[in-house]
Amino acid sequence: MHISRSIEILVGFFVALGFVAMFFLSMEVSNLSSVNGDDGYDITASFENVGSLKVRAPVAMAGVNVGRVTAINFDPETFEAVVTMSIEARYNQLPSDSNASILTAGLLGEQYVGLEPGGEEEVLEEGSELELTQSALVLEQIIGQFLFSSESEEE
């Protein structure tokens, strides 16, 4: 069977377009452009309550994403949730007494871990544990406390 040059060119365009579309999906649509591989270090923090924090939730400091939550486990001895976070390697000067709190992006948004820098000279490294943590705010508890306190004020 004879195939002409123009057919070969069209097939070439077709395959190239496939690669362009794949590139578009990976770079523009998905998060590949913001993932920097595994070259980060892991730190852990224990929370009394992680609310609805999910694995892969962002870890932010001053509003900038510095890492991701990689695992959430339950510690059966302290009855606390142990959250493992992977911090990008270029952020290697975070003070070791930074504190972690679970915050919510917007009123109904997803939860993320917010870090606030401390004043220590030492820096966080692989395996460090954050001592100061603040649990997630559970909406029902806040509403309950609010109702309780407003009732007691009336008395």
Binding site: I7, L17, G18, F24, L25, V29, S33
Partner: protein, 260 residues
């Protein structure tokens, strides 16, 4: 009473026999793939017929599917004031499900039926027997290039479908409905995971391409060599492919996204 059982038995035996013949045929195709690699021109011609000629159908369908999701999604999301999530909704539904599934269904109708009819007619007009007489293996010369072409074209078409669909959603969402442009892309990038969504969608489309071209080529090869037999085989290709795609899609989705 016994005759019912006999009919049931005959039907199931026939089904298993076809399945067995199909598997043997598939192994034969796999064995003759090296001979296709030696002659890539055969493959290029088939990619043209199977892939390039399906291009316009896939792009236009993808554009309209993306636009419809954007319109319908906006209607529901605006009830919750979550219009910003429209990009996520369009991209996730296209990349995970609609891209691979709809393009595979279109591909089965556009390319699968053509493959079956072509091979079936070759058989009916004894071209395949003629090749065997000339010591040319029809599996290596006719079936394997078509099978490989389908396997290569399908992921490309599904990816194009998703990409064009996302653009269609963008035109409707940002252009017509006035959603914030930055939010459309940034929410999408935040929520769509490369390995979880894009790669799994690609795996799906490869599997669908494999199933559809396998069914199409086998039905053509297995067709009764009459005009009625070829027409039946073509119908079976489209029907069986659609069943196989939807069933496999459910199984694959349960395996890939079941634990989320």
């Amino acid at each position: 009473m016994l005759s019912y059982f006999q009919r049931l038995g005959a039907t199931s035996l026939g089904m298993f026999e076809r399945l067995g013949r199909g598997s043997v045929f598939f192994v034969n195709i796999l064995l003759s793939i090296p001979s296709v690699i030696v002659r890539p021109r055969l493959l290029i011609a088939q990619i043209y017929f199977v892939g390039v000629l399906s291009f316009s159908l896939i792009v236009i369908s993808g554009l309209f599917v993306g636009m419809v999701i954007a319109l319908q999604g906006f209607y529901t999301l605006s009830d919750f004031g979550a219009e910003g999530m429209l990009g996520v909704m369009v991209a996730a539904s296209l990349i995970r499900e609609l891209g691979p599934v709809v393009s595979a269904l279109l591909f089965a109708g556009r390319a699968g039926s053509a493959l079956t009819a072509e091979i079936g007619l070759m058989k009916a007009t004894e071209q395949l027997s003629g090749m065997e007489m000339m010591a040319v293996d029809p599996v290596a010369r006719i079936m394997a290039p078509r099978f490989l072409a389908g396997l290569i074209s399908m992921p490309i078409l599904a990816t194009l479908f998703s990409a064009v669909g996302v653009m269609g959603g963008y035109f409707i969402g940002v252009g017509l409905l006035g959603i914030d442009e930055g939010g459309y892309w940034s929410q999408m990038q935040a929520k769509i995971d490369f390995s979880q969504d894009v790669v799994n969608g690609l795996i799906k489309s490869v599997i669908f391409g494999w199933v559809v071209t396998w069914i199409a080529v086998f039905e053509g090869h297995d067709a009764i060599p009459t005009s009625e037999g070829v027409s039946r085989a073509t119908t079976r290709t489209v029907v069986h492919s659609a069943f196989a795609i939807l069933l496999l899609d459910f199984i694959l989705t349960a395996l890939m996204f079941g634990d989320i």
